[in-house]
């Protein structure tokens, strides 16, 4: 019975070209926007040139890690080109990693490890120097740690050369894994609604795509859940009580139909985001997003119960989607708002879902599910009483 109602609701919703638009165009639109923002973001990054004369494992690690920093755009070039780019101010700063870099780092010899060239007229030298120094220091600290462990451990255990190499490697990896930058080497920046440190690779996954996806999911949840208003207008509400299962089955079946469509949209958005590399997909991301769409479904259904005309519903949809998206800090950090608005932002679903995505916690999705069950119960009861 519930299934029949759900399938019919999907059929009805897909009769409208807007539903197809929701499923296809929203994905393409987000992809396009993400691409545009990516280009703009690259243009606003600090251009950095690096000359790698060492071409060792360590120098490549430094280059790779610096490149992952969202604040800089790294080009690996030869010395002549690097100096040319600095002189012509195409690059703000240049680094030369000389031959023997890896050996010096392993021996914790930090004297003249790297040569730095600065262009004139840029204010960003300090920031880039810090980013670069942080990565070099990380390798140096790892080596220092590994050397110390070997020195202490090797004496007591009398290890052979092979075992010593293994212990050194393990200690180095352990130190690298637990690397935390000291305050002077920390660059604070904000991702989405929460403050994060510039250390996590995952943080870079939060692009315009994820906030855009959250907005789309909310928008279509509200648009698709306008059926209670249409049903009231068409007299369907006075017909349904005579069906088997009564009003609650009808209400639940329709909500399920909309939820299935929301899931399809989510699948498309997550799939596209994953393919584009704009979204890190793992179990906690999926669970968080499922909790989010369940909550949106229940919330929009309850709202639809209180609204009596399509025009009002369109206004409510626009207001809720715009207000919560702007306020929540989905597109810009909420702490740039006044303290009152910042506090209000913490009550928006986008704020919580962004927090859930950043923290990879199951607590927030579970809260979403709990609230959803309550909202479903409330709307079914209220609407059933007036059916």
């Amino acid at each position: 019975m519930v299934w029949t109602i759900a399938i019919t609701r999907i059929k009805l919703l897909l009769q409208s070209p807007w539903s197809w638009a929701g499923l296809v165009i929203s994905v393409l639109l987000l992809g396009f926007l993400d691409l545009s923002v990516e280009k703009t973001a690259n243009a606003t990054k600090i251009p950095v040139v690096i000359v790698d004369e060492d071409t060792s494992e360590y120098s490549e690690t430094v280059i790779e890690r610096v490149s992952q920093n969202p604040a800089v755009a790294v080009s690996v070039v030869d010395q002549e080109e690097a100096q040319n780019e600095i002189e012509t101010q195409k690059a703000a700063i240049g680094f030369l990693i000389p031959e023997g870099f890896m050996e010096k780092v392993q021996k914790n010899d930090e004297d003249e490890l790297v040569t730095m060239w600065l262009s004139t007229g840029t204010l960003s030298h300090g920031l880039v120097r810090e980013i670069f120094a942080s990565e070099v220091k990380r390798l140096s600290s790892n080596s220092y740690g590994a050397n110390t462990v070997l020195k202490t451990y090797g004496k007591s255990e009398k290890l052979d050369a092979k075992e010593q190499a293994s212990v050194w490697k393990d200690a180095w990896a352990y130190s690298d894994k637990h690397w935390k930058p000291v305050p002077l080497m920390t660059v604070d920046y904000k991702v989405g609604a929460t403050k994060e440190k510039a250390q996590s690779v995952e943080d870079q996954a939060v692009s315009i795509y994820v906030p855009g996806m959250l907005v789309m999911l909310m928008l279509f949840s509200f648009l698709w859940n306008s059926w209670p208003i249409k049903d009231r207008d068409s007299g369907m509400r006075s017909r349904v009580p005579y069906s088997v299962g009564g009003f609650s089955v009808y209400w639940g079946g329709n909500a399920l139909g909309v939820l299935i469509l929301q899931l399809e949209l989510l699948l498309l958005l997550v799939g596209f985001g994953w393919w584009k590399g704009a979204l890190v997909v793992n179990a906690s991301t999926v669970i968080a997003l499922l909790g989010y769409i369940l909550f949106l479904n229940a919330l929009s259904l309850l709202f639809a119960y209180f609204v009596h005309s399509n025009r009002t519903w369109q206004a409510v949809t626009l207001f809720v989607v715009l207000a919560t998206s702007l306020l929540s800090g989905t597109f810009f950090p909420s702490d740039e708002l006044s303290s009152i608005l910042e506090k209000a932002a913490q009550w928006t679903p986008q704020y919580w879902i962004i927090s859930a995505l950043n923290q990879e916690t199951l607590m927030i999705p579970l809260v979403f599910v709990g609230i959803s069950i309550f909202l479903y119960g409330l709307s079914t009861m209220k609407a059933g009483d007036n059916a």
Partner: protein, 237 residues
């Protein structure tokens, strides 16, 4: 079949129905008549268990509408004033959908009814492409899917042409001849005269008259020589 005892309904301070009493027998076709705001729709909704009276009671086949709602709903088919179907689906899809939702529905029966009501050839058209008359017929057919004993229709012929009205009235007469009890609200005196065997006349929430068609003419001191429609018009005011 349907008994009202001291039924009253208030919306806030406004009393929409005042102390209504009547008894409708099985198989009667009752025209519920009255000017706008007389309480017709409210009365029909209370009988149909879609609304509750403020005081008094309504019993359907001996069952109290307040206590035995579920059982009563199995006996009643309600046709709202609006065309309560999915306009984006075909007539057949609508019938199949509501048949699945209805208890004891048989495709054979509703297909036969479609043939009798000349709807068969339009079953695969989307409802929004059907004529007003056929939309109204479908609206009634869906209320009949669970084979109710009582059919309650709230102005089911609003906005359609005379020939379509005539067809619907004939179809409803056929239902009456099958033994169904019908409560029919309308402003069209001619179709009421053709269809109904008795009348329940409401004015400003009060029951002005309940009785057979013959008794309508004898009611009060209104002009004896006038035709039925004029008589009804004068009673209603």
């Amino acid at each position: 079949m349907i008994t009202a005892e001291n039924l009253s309904k208030k919306f806030g301070r406004k009393e929409v129905l005042q102390d209504i009493n009547f008894y409708i027998q099985k198989g009667e076709i009752v025209g519920v008549v009255g000017p706008n705001g007389a309480g017709k729709s409210t009365l029909l909704k209370i009988i149909a268990t879609l609304m509750r009276g403020t005081s008094g009671s309504i019993q359907v086949d001996g069952l109290d509408t307040k206590k035995e709602t579920k059982k009563i709903r199995e006996k009643i088919g309600y046709v709202p004033q609006e065309i309560a179907v999915y306009h984006e689906l075909t007539a057949r899809e609508n019938l199949r959908f509501f048949a699945k939702l209805a208890k004891n529905s048989s495709e054979e029966i509703w297909m036969r009814r479609c043939e009798e009501w000349k709807l068969s050839e339009h079953l695969d058209k989307k409802v929004k492409h059907l004529s007003g008359g056929n939309q109204r017929k479908l609206n009634i057919l869906i209320a009949l899917l669970h084979n109710p004993e009582i059919l309650i229709l709230d102005e089911p012929t609003v906005g359609i042409d005379i020939s379509a009205k005539q067809e619907i009235v004939n179809d409803l007469r056929q239902l009456g001849s099958e033994g169904k009890t019908i409560l029919y609200s309308s402003h069209d005196a001619q179709e009421l005269e053709t269809l109904c065997t008795s009348f329940l006349i409401l004015k400003e929430g009060e029951l002005l008259f309940y009785g057979s068609k013959q008794k309508v003419r004898q009611f009060g001191s209104v002009a004896q020589s006038k035709n039925f429609a004029e008589t009804l018009g004068e009673i209603v005011g």
